[in-house]
């Protein structure tokens, strides 16, 4: 090699090494001591070994004002490119907090938006690791343009490729809207998300709140339901992201990866005793899910938000499925505003990405209450009806116990297009509970009768004998079959197999109007 060539190679290596150090060794060390990994370390953990191909390492900002002229910001504060997770292509952007606080300038935003276009072209998931102080103030409105490009691409990608946001540091102001437009948000313990921070809140309303209380994982999971997964640190966040990807197809035209089907499902006699005989007692529906799905491997989504409805991903004989289940242990399993929103969003995600839906029903109805009505339970509950009706993926419903009133309809009943509706023998499928029904039907007679108590009991018994069974619904063909709980897994596996090539025609339209 000629001397000049060798020098050029050396120069390239030096330049790359310098730029890859981001904000410098000192700041990288500071990132570590504050309990966070660096932007590149997060990618190294997420992606298969040596699979990362960076683009835009040499990107330069064009800001000239407020001391920015000639200032070097390596990669403009965001590492972008593509790589592989378990062998499958993904596009990634990882904000570098060590470079100007990860602030988003125009070039920074454009780099992310261009990476997203790569996702769209290749039909590969987009993963955005957030760790940024916010907009780069020195660049003025140009930095907002950068954000807006990201938001626009978020919407272009929505429903075409899965989009996952990891929030590993601050994510404040406008920046929070990119994660909000993506499909899943994984937030670490060190991260905060909010639109207006504690200082602005104090100025405007006088309320005093810490940033962790305002936008930490507890706030964004338990209170707001903005976050889908909460993790203790960056390493766990990356693991969750990988695990989530394993359930999802790369884009809306593909099927989710299928794992080994394993042997023929055996009957699980323990399932026969999972639902308590006393209709008043609750139980944990996740125990039933764990017994029905492969290897008890259930990735619950929004585990600590609206716990009355359980949603998450699992597999049955190697096929990815979305599971939606009422949780009788919380709020009696009734559907409320938050539960309806959570369920509807999950159903729509699964439908967009060809993931069949399995619904376990044990619902006494919608939650009564003034706050629910004032909060718009009609509008929110309708989202679930809309989402289920609009879903064209295989829809399988198992009624475990109660299925009453509007709740029965909303939980993917036959008439909302369920392809296969099964009921356990203890199922009670009726328009309302026996006591209330008797009150409505025999109000006058009971008011007039002297011996109110025994007549009432007789009528209630009569009503429950007639309606608190799955046989009436099965007689009306609203239930396809009544099965022994033990055979649930086998039945679901067979139904999924049979429905694998399901086709469903819908009228052409620009888009439906889900009641937002």
């Amino acid at each position: 090699m000629e001397a000049a060539t060798r020098e050029r190679m050396r120069e390239l290596t030096r330049a790359k090494e310098r730029l890859q150090l981001g904000g410098g060794a000192e700041r990288l060390e500071k990132q570590h001591s504050s309990g966070k990994l660096t932007a590149r370390e997060r990618l190294a953990l997420l992606l298969d070994r040596k699979s990362f191909r960076e683009s835009g390492l040499f990107a330069k900002h064009n800001a000239r004002l407020f001391g920015m002229d000639g200032k070097e910001l390596p990669a403009d504060g965001v590492v972008t490119g593509r790589g592989r997770v378990a062998g499958r292509l993904v596009h990634v952007a990882s904000q570098d907090f060590t470079v100007a606080g990860g602030s988003a300038g125009e070039v920074h935003g454009s780099k992310i938006a261009d990476t997203m276009k790569g996702s769209l072209k290749t039909g590969s998931p987009f993963i955005f690791i957030n760790d940024s102080g916010g907009a780069r103030v020195q660049e003025g409105v140009a930095s907002l343009a950068g954000y807006a490009r990201i938001f626009y691409q978020n919407v272009m990608l929505s429903g075409v490729v899965p989009q996952i946001s990891l929030i590993c540091g601050p994510c404040a102001g406008g920046a929070a809207y990119s994660p909000a437009l993506t499909d899943f948000i994984i937030q670490t313990r060190d991260a905060q998300m909010f639109i207006t921070g504690p200082s602005v809140i104090k100025q405007v309303t006088g309320e005093i709140v810490s940033s962790e209380d305002l936008g930490g994982p507890r706030a964004q999971m338990n209170k707001s339901g903005v976050a889908h997964f909460v993790t203790e640190n960056d390493v766990e966040a990356v693991k969750i992201c990988q695990r989530l990807l394993s359930f999802l197809p790369s884009n809306n035209l593909e099927e989710a990866p299928r794992l080994d089907a394993g042997g023929t499902p055996r009957d699980d006699d323990d399932l026969n005793d999972m639902v308590p005989a006393d209709p008043k007692s609750g139980y944990d529906v996740k125990k039933i899910i764990a017994r029905v799905v492969d290897r008890s491997d259930f990735l619950e989504v929004q585990a600590d938000f609206a716990r009355n409805l359980v949603v998450g991903f699992a597999r049955i004989r190697g096929r990815s499925v979305g599971v939606i289940a009422n949780q009788p242990a919380v709020l009696a399993g009734a559907l409320d505003i938050d539960g309806s929103d959570k369920g509807a969003r999950f159903v729509r995600f699964c439908n967009a990405f060809n993931i069949p839906l399995i619904t376990f029903v044990d619902i006494p109805g919608f939650l009564p209450g003034v706050d629910q009505e004032y909060g718009g339970i009609i509008r929110h509950g309708a989202k679930l009806l809309f989402a289920y009706s609009a879903a064209t993926v295989p829809k399988i419903t198992v009624i475990l116990r109660k299925a009453y009133g509007g709740g029965y309809i909303a939980m993917c009943s036959k008439e909302l297009g369920a392809d296969c509706t099964l009921a356990w023998p203890a199922a009670e499928i009726a328009v309302m509970g026996a006591e209330s029904a008797v009150e409505v039907l025999y109000h006058r007679e009971l008011a007039a009768a002297q011996d109110n108590g025994s007549r009432r009991r007789e009528l209630v018994q009569q009503f429950s004998d007639t309606f608190a069974t799955p046989y009436v619904a099965a007689g009306l063909r609203l239930v396809d079959d009544i099965i022994e709980p033990a055979e649930t897994r086998a039945q679901l596996a067979e139904a999924l197999e049979a429905l694998a090539n399901k086709r469903d025609w819908r009228p052409q339209k620009k888009h439906g109007l889900i009641p937002l």
């Binding site: 953990l45 378990a86 062998g87 962790e212 338990n222 390493v235 794992l259 008043k280 009788p328 209450g369």
Partner: protein, 143 residues
């Protein structure tokens, strides 16, 4: 591994998926989820430990575990639902764990267990069996 997107044979994916992704989340207890024991999947700390399958060394502060986050209102345990208190299993001065059943409220024709969102010591119990409670009403307070 093949280079083209989606061209990897299913068998290869299945093997990788199981070992690279699921293997680290192998669940012994049917209900064990990542959220319960997150540390199980975290690698060991160490400056040069590169043979544990992770491509980078994880600095100790990243794996450092902190006490669970508490919100100011966590000390007030409120009724999630309107109903009638039928049992109170806690008393003032008693230590309680997060999600430990503390009260039973009958509502929607069901017995609903109510539990605190965080660990703590009960300061005052504000209701007794037989009381009708509204949704959002304070049931007991933690110190």
């Amino acid at each position: 591994m093949t280079a083209a997107a989606g061209a990897a044979p299913a068998g290869a994916w299945a093997r990788q998926g199981r070992h690279a992704i699921q293997g680290s989340h192998e669940l012994a207890d049917p209900l064990a989820r990542w959220v319960l024991e997150p540390a199980r999947h975290a690698p060991e700390a160490g400056p040069t430990k590169r043979d544990d399958g992770l491509p980078i060394a994880i600095p100790e502060p990243v794996l450092h575990r902190r006490p669970p986050q508490r919100l100011p209102e966590d000390t007030l345990c409120r009724s999630p639902i309107a109903g009638v208190v039928i049992a109170v299993m806690v008393a003032a001065g008693q230590e309680v764990k997060c999600r430990q059943p503390a009260l039973v409220i009958e509502a929607m024709k069901m017995e609903n267990q109510v539990s605190p969102e965080v660990d703590g010591v009960v300061k005052t119990v504000c209701v007794a069996p037989g009381d009708a409670v509204k949704a959002g009403q304070v049931l007991f307070e933690l110190a």
